[in-house]
């Protein structure tokens, strides 16, 4: 078994990890990208139906959720700075704050889903809205895009928990905290996906 590392130095390994994670982010852009493509195609084709659909979403849920995620990103970024100064307790608090905000986001999201269920707006389950039939396309895309995003949030929460456990065991220091950087990159990227989902889903202007 080749147990020795292929790298010649820790710096080389760290820069390889960085490159690897940014490559992963590129794959995620394309993964969500398929959904964005479908969205663009159908929005060009059915502008009125999309506007009608957007109007059925809860503007404040979406806006508050965006603020929640941006705050969680701040906490994650601060945590990264903290561990660079060997402040493990501060990192732990930042990880906790990030995770709690992430949970808050998911809580708001799921109550939004439940609200739509009560309004009979869930395609394939109880969709019965008045309006153009193409509005269901928008609602479908809404559920799939935010659902995929929520799935990524769950994975992120898992990763944060793992980080918290590692930090609790004293595994991080100013010179060795690669997992914090990597999970941070992932978390910030998921935030960016939401930053685009928000205007595309919640802020479609009504056509005059």
């Amino acid at each position: 078994m080749a147990a020795t590392t292929p790298f010649r130095s820790a710096t080389q390994r760290e820069s390889a990890n960085q490159l690897g994670l940014w490559t992963l982010i590129a794959t995620e852009v394309l993964f969500f990208g398929g959904l964005f493509t479908a969205y663009v195609v159908y929005r060009f084709t059915y502008p009125a139906a999309f506007a009608a659909g957007s109007h059925r979403l809860e503007f404040w849920y979406g806006t508050i959720n965006t603020a929640v995620l941006l705050t969680s990103s701040l906490c994650m970024a601060v945590g990264d700075v903290m561990i660079k100064h060997d402040r493990r307790r501060a990192l732990q608090l930042c990880l906790l704050a990030t995770a709690l905000l992430g949970l808050l986001f998911l809580g708001i999201k799921f109550s939004e889903y439940y609200h739509m269920y009560r309004e009979q707006l869930v395609p394939g389950i109880n969709y019965r809205a008045e309006g153009p039939p193409q509005m269901q396309l928008f609602i479908l895309l809404y559920f799939i895009m935010t659902g995929l995003h929520a799935l990524h949030m769950l994975i992120g929460l898992g990763a944060l928990t793992w980080l918290g456990w590692l930090n609790h065991r004293g595994r991080f220091s100013s010179t060795g905290h690669q997992p914090v950087v990597m999970v941070g990159l992932y978390w910030h990227f998921i935030d960016c996906v939401w930053v685009f989902l928000y205007p595309l889903l919640y802020l479609i202007p009504h056509l005059t």
Binding site: M1, A2, A3, T4, T5, P6, F7, R8, Q12, S15, A16, L19, G20, T23, L24, A26, T27, E28, L30, F31, F32, G33, G34, L35, T37, A38, V41, Y42, T45, Y46, A49, P123, G124, I125, Y127, P132, P133, Q134, Q136, L137, L140, L141, I144
Partner: protein, 525 residues
């Protein structure tokens, strides 16, 4: 130094290995297994097509056979084979590294691949899928009564193995090159694996989301491709082919890289136009993303889009043609040895050229109207995938066999097998160009009497081809146990992988090599 084969002999030492060479061998067994399954489907199809009447299987079964053949051969053989077998084994050696950048990710990718394969096998065993490997909606999402979900899930999972391998190879080439090994000193095989990895990483995620969307529509009975909601089945095709066209470049680029290694070694000459070859590889990878609409010319896609895609498809043929010219220029006035690997390389050049030129025929809008969904298309892609890709793979396997196994294969038998494969291949697929031109549609198990003779010739060719493929399977396995032992460099080739023992030692090199000159630095003739 201990060879990688001798470093531990327990099952655990293989299944938990972090050694890129052992992982390559694991992949070798897996993809060979899938190749045999896909080939069995092909045998049954050609057997059915021996007679005009559909008397061997029902049309429904035939649908499942060609779907099985396509799905297995594309996703579980052609896409993984050269990157995960030859790439995994040779890439770190060729750049003077001890392993790939992320060895644990490498092992994980194999397990992910096997999981996807098991799902696909389950779907096959329990009745298969009848949608064709292209899974077009609404048939796949609404009307088909077959195991679409499980099969699509298997492909979805296998896609993650592809992505993981791609990430690994990209970072490996960027970060683990030996001192002195600048980008323009890399062997072309490394360039080809690098470009392939870029495609794997950027295209596969789109396939993944497309399969998810199709599965959601199937599972929930409503989806974004559903015309009842104003959805467009063509959107599925755009999403599907955005991946599946670059996928064919995932399949062929590594083969092109292998051919460059073989041609230089057995002509004992530097490659003609090294930088142009490297840039061509990157161009093929890049331009390959721009042409997917040529699969949709007659699908009711806009004619204007068809014009754009047709023009771009003509453009992508140019770097491929340049590579063929440069290989020939390399062979010209070289000191040629007709060893088995070179026979496969020559076969590749000839057959890939035919396949590529017929691709340009198909890229011509007006011509494609008549040829779409005929055997002309089938012949075109088999010339590239089988005549090109599989021959390059066999050539690479023979070339690097001493490094992988530490043994020499029987040369005369191997040359005979290469010739049998070449003849069998042409006998099988050349008639199919004519059949397609005459109008025989693909994916049908019956045909009019007038196509009988050509189909018989094609099936006979398939029998010869089958024998040809079995031969290396047998003699390579035999040579692993009984073949004469190989020295470090039986071909006297350049390349860092030849500067170390055969079979490769566990940790690749005693000390990290230092590179001071260009690749293919053969002495002037």
């Amino acid at each position: 130094m201990t060879s990688y084969l001798a470093a531990g002999s327990s099952v655990r030492s293989w299944l938990c290995t972090l050694d890129h060479k052992r992982i390559a061998v694991l992949y070798l067994f897996t993809v060979t297994f899938f190749f045999l399954i896909g080939a069995t489907a092909a045998v049954l199809m050609r057997w059915e097509l021996l007679t005009p009447a559909g008397n061997l299987v029902t049309s429904d079964t035939y649908n499942r056979l060609f779907t099985l053949h396509g799905v297995i051969m594309v996703w579980f053989f052609l896409i993984p084979v050269v990157p995960t077998v030859l790439g995994n084994f040779i890439l770190p050696l060729a750049i003077g590294a001890r392993d790939v950048a992320f060895p644990r990710l490498n092992l994980a990718s194999w397990y992910i691949f096997v999981s996807g394969g098991l799902l696909a096998l389950y779907a096959i065993v329990f009745g298969g899928v009848d949608t064709g490997w292209t899974f077009y909606t609404p048939y796949s999402s609404t009307y088909s009564n077959s195991h679409v979900m499980v099969m699509a899930a298997g492909i979805f999972v296998a896609g993650f193995a592809s992505i993981a391998t791609g990430i690994n190879f990209i970072v490996t080439v960027h970060k683990l090159r030996a001192p002195g090994l600048t980008w323009f000193r890399l062997p072309l095989f490394v360039w080809s694996i690098y470009a392939t990895s870029i495609i794997m990483v950027l295209a596969t995620p789109v396939l993944a989301i497309t399969l998810v969307l199709m599965m959601l529509e199937r599972g929930f009975g409503v989806g974004i491709f559903d015309p009842h909601l104003g959805g467009d089945p063509l959107l599925f095709q755009h999403l599907f082919w955005f991946y599946s066209h670059p996928a064919v470049y995932i399949m062929i680029l590594p083969g092109m890289g292998v051919v460059s290694e073989l041609v230089t070694c057995f002509a004992r000459k530097r490659i003609f136009g090294y930088k142009v070859m490297a840039v061509s590889i990157l161009s093929i990878a890049g331009l390959g993303f721009l042409v997917w609409g040529h699969h949709m010319f007659v699908s009711s896609q806009s004619v204007y889009a068809g014009l754009v895609f047709s023009l771009l498809s003509f453009m992508v043929s140019v770097p491929s043609a340049i590579k063929v010219f440069n290989w020939i220029a390399t062979l010209h006035r070289g000191s040629i040895t007709f060893a088995t690997p070179l026979l496969y390389a020559l076969g590749f050049i000839a057959l890939f050229t035919i396949g590529g030129l017929t691709g340009v025929c198909l890229a011509t809008l007006a011509v494609d109207v008549h040829l779409h969904d005929t055997y002309f298309v089938v012949a075109h892609f088999h010339y590239i995938m089988v005549g090109g890709m599989v021959m390059a793979y066999l050539g690479g396997m023979h070339y690097w066999w001493p490094k992988i196994s530490g043994r020499l294969y029987p040369e005369r038998l191997a040359r005979a097998a290469a010739v049998i494969i070449f003849l069998g291949f042409n006998l099988t697929f050349f008639p199919q160009f004519i059949l397609g031109y005459l109008g025989m549609p693909r994916r049908f198990h019956t045909y009019p009497q007038e196509f009988h003779t050509l189909n018989v010739i094609s099936t006979c060719g398939a029998a010869v081809l089958g024998v040809g493929y079995l031969l290396p399977l047998v003699y390579l396995t035999w040579s692993f146990f009984r073949g004469p032992r190989a020295g470090p460099n039986p071909w006297n080739a350049t390349g860092l992988e030849w500067q170390t023992d055969s079979p490769a030692p566990e940790h690749n090199f005693r000390e990290t090599p230092v590179v001071t000159g260009p690749p293919y630095d053969y002495p002037p003739l």
